[in-house]
Amino acid sequence: MPNIVPFKTFSSIAVPIDIPNCDTDQIIPGRFLRKPNNDPNYHLYLFHDLRFNSDGSEKEFSFNLKQFKNGKIFVSDINWGCGSSRENAVIALKANGIKSVIAPSFGDIHYNNCIKNGLLPIQLSESECSLLRRQLHQNSDSEVTIDLGTQSVTGPDSTIYNFKINSFDKLRLIRGLDDISLTMEYEEKIQEFMIDYRKKHGWAL
């Protein structure tokens, strides 16, 4: 079960990640998938092969730069988190304190994995994301504020961007709900469904 912290309004340095179609293999390479979630080195697995040379020295990568190291928000490009369903990608983000990723579009499975772990995926337009990334590169201490209640992002130049999120997902994030206990409240409905389902689709049991 993921450790979910209720989502609160916060401000942080935002980190530009200029990779379109950034697949989850880049976010965390396959060879780390068998590591336990509480591995003390988990934060190093995030973007490992893009951040580090084989001798452990740092490569040129935005998240390695001094001004971005403490960022808790990523601003990325289209199709962020496409590819593999590995939830380890979200674990690696959380291990670095990342609370939100802003992108024009997300891989569907990764989007769900973020929600289930209390990490807020925010969809803004391609031009808005690209403008934000440009501003972040240009200004050395660029803070971004995220307010889930009002569904708004405040950019480094104080521009306010509104975003959409499904009401059920919003409730999950704000309350820090975990789905298993939520679903168990529906046990009666599940039982009712099963009575009908057994009659109708006995072949599928």
């Binding site: 092969d49 369903s85 499975i109 059920f168 298993i180 599940i190 072949w203 599928a204």
Partner: protein, 467 residues
């Protein structure tokens, strides 16, 4: 208004619908592989039992070595721990598990359909994005994350939102030497790696009607590479005869009940699709990818594109990054690219039809580069050996291995060295996918076999002229 095939199955499985459209969905089949072995300890620590162990099936595949068939021959470490962990949980929780010693063992997405665990009209999930494969049999299948895996174990349900509907109609027929792999690469090139995000994709049309279940699985498998979690194809006579008498398929009167339901599973004539696309199947030619996203695919007759001709600066940057990583120069003909390794296998292309397609091309010839042939399951292996395909591969100097995911994800020791270049029948050409610094070109089994013989990419259709 009529309903789509996807909606019909979806509606049968709705337990409860939330105000904002989120649905609690009943799950008929849950497949689990070795990378999720920790889910069981997690549930145990919370004191949560498995809701319906009879609907859970375990197959270790990602960490499985392809050179040995026994646990004791696997050195102690992460790989063995994952395989053993899954096996132990099967014993503890009492669900069906196919251990590596079992001849039915293989890649979870090959074993499911082969055993009749996958059936038309059901909902099926697995903690793996290539669960889209199973939709080839006319079921609603999709990949899920680890938290969702635990949720299904605990409740046999999932909270989901209905995706939008897309239909891709493939007219005409695929030509000789052109396969489902070439078709799906053509589709991804057309709609992009993000084109299917938020959609379930139904494939239809004359090329699909004629396609084998194996080919349909290849198509649905790589649907996730177009951004869509679910590919689906209406069950027809081909599907129904494929499922008949499989070990876990219904028998007797239950089979009759199932079949009459399956026969209703077609999109209605007036069903609404949010997006429709038609592709001329007859015009598809063998494809090769050149970049680090499956959308960067080209017909074998093509050349590496010039990023300087791309107007969109972001696309141009992505192309340049790919060319840099792949060490390729604009203007180079695809057929001039030399390769170090060929990998024939993965849940995309490791079924018997794929083995036959590769063997047909290789027969009587020699591999010029290291070539691994990894069947998708023990049953595929046995069948291939009965047909003498293994002999064709080994006579050509290729390695005939035990089943598993192998070099598709490089988690079992089968991998490329940094800088090495592979022609691969797998599904992802991402940076580092086949090992740190590896360079992957995605192709069909026939094209991979042809590349093995030549040492570089060639148009396999030219070889058929000689056959």
């Amino acid at each position: 208004m009529g309903k789509t095939l996807f909606e019909k199955i979806w509606n049968e499985h709705i337990i409860y619908e939330h105000d904002d459209g989120e649905v609690l969905l009943y799950i008929d089949r849950h497949l689990i592989h070795d990378l999720h072995y920790r889910s069981f300890a997690s549930l145990k620590s919370q004191g949560i039992p498995i809701k319906e162990p009879g609907k859970l099936f375990g197959v270790p595949d990602h960490s499985v070595p392809t050179t040995v068939k026994n646990l004791k021959d696997i050195p102690k470490g992460e790989m063995r721990e994952a395989i053993e962990g899954l096996q132990r949980s099967a014993k503890d929780f009492g669900y069906v598990h196919f251990p590596i010693t079992d001849k039915r063992h293989g890649i979870v997405h090959v074993v499911g359909p082969e055993q009749g665990i996958t059936l038309p009209g059901i909902t099926l999930v697995c903690g793996d994005s290539h669960t889209s494969t199973h939709g080839a049999l006319g079921c609603l299948s999709f990949g899920i994350g680890a938290t969702e895996v635990e949720h299904v174990l605990a409740t046999q349900t999932l909270w989901q939102r209905r995706p939008q509907m897309m239909r891709i109609t493939i007219t005409g027929q695929l030509a000789l030497g052109v396969s489902a792999k070439d078709l799906i690469l053509t589709i991804i090139k057309e709609i992009s790696a993000a084109g299917g995000a938020g959609y379930a994709i139904e494939y239809a049309g004359s090329a699909i009607d004629k396609m084998s279940v194996e080919g349909r699985m290849t198509l649905c498998n790589m649907t996730i590479e177009a951004g869509s979690r679910s590919g689906i194809i209406a069950p027809d006579d081909t599907t129904i005869s494929y499922c008949k008498d499989l070990p876990y398929a219904p028998k007797g009167p239950l089979w009759d009940e199932a079949e009459s339901f399956w026969r209703t599973l077609r999109s209605d004539k007036d069903a609404y699709f949010d997006k429709e696309l038609t592709i001329d199947g007859s015009a598809v030619i063998p494809m090769v990818t050149w970049g680090n996203s499956p959308q960067w695919a080209l017909p074998i007759s093509g050349s590496i594109p010039h990023p300087s001709l791309e107007n969109d600066p972001m696309l141009r940057a992505e192309m340049e990054a790919s060319l840099d990583y792949m060490d390729l120069k604009p203007g180079t003909s695809l057929s001039a690219i030399p390769i170090d390794t060929v990998f024939i296998g993965a849940c995309t292309n490791s079924r018997i039809e794929d083995m036959r397609a590769a063997a047909e091309v290789i027969k009587g010839k020699k591999a010029k580069v290291r070539t691994l042939v990894v069947p998708g399951s023990g049953l595929v292996k046995v069948q291939a050996e009965m047909e003498g395909l293994d002999k064709i591969f080994t006579d050509a100097g290729m390695e005939w291995r035990e089943p598993g995911c192998s070099m598709c994800i490089a988690l079992n020791g089968d991998m490329l060295k940094p800088g090495q270049r592979a022609a691969s029948t797998s599904n992802r050409n991402f940076q580092g996918r086949q090992g740190l610094g590896s360079r992957t070109h995605l192709v069909s089994p026939a094209m991979a076999a042809a590349a093995s013989i030549a040492g570089h990419f060639i148009d396999v259709r030219n070889l058929y002229k000689e056959l």
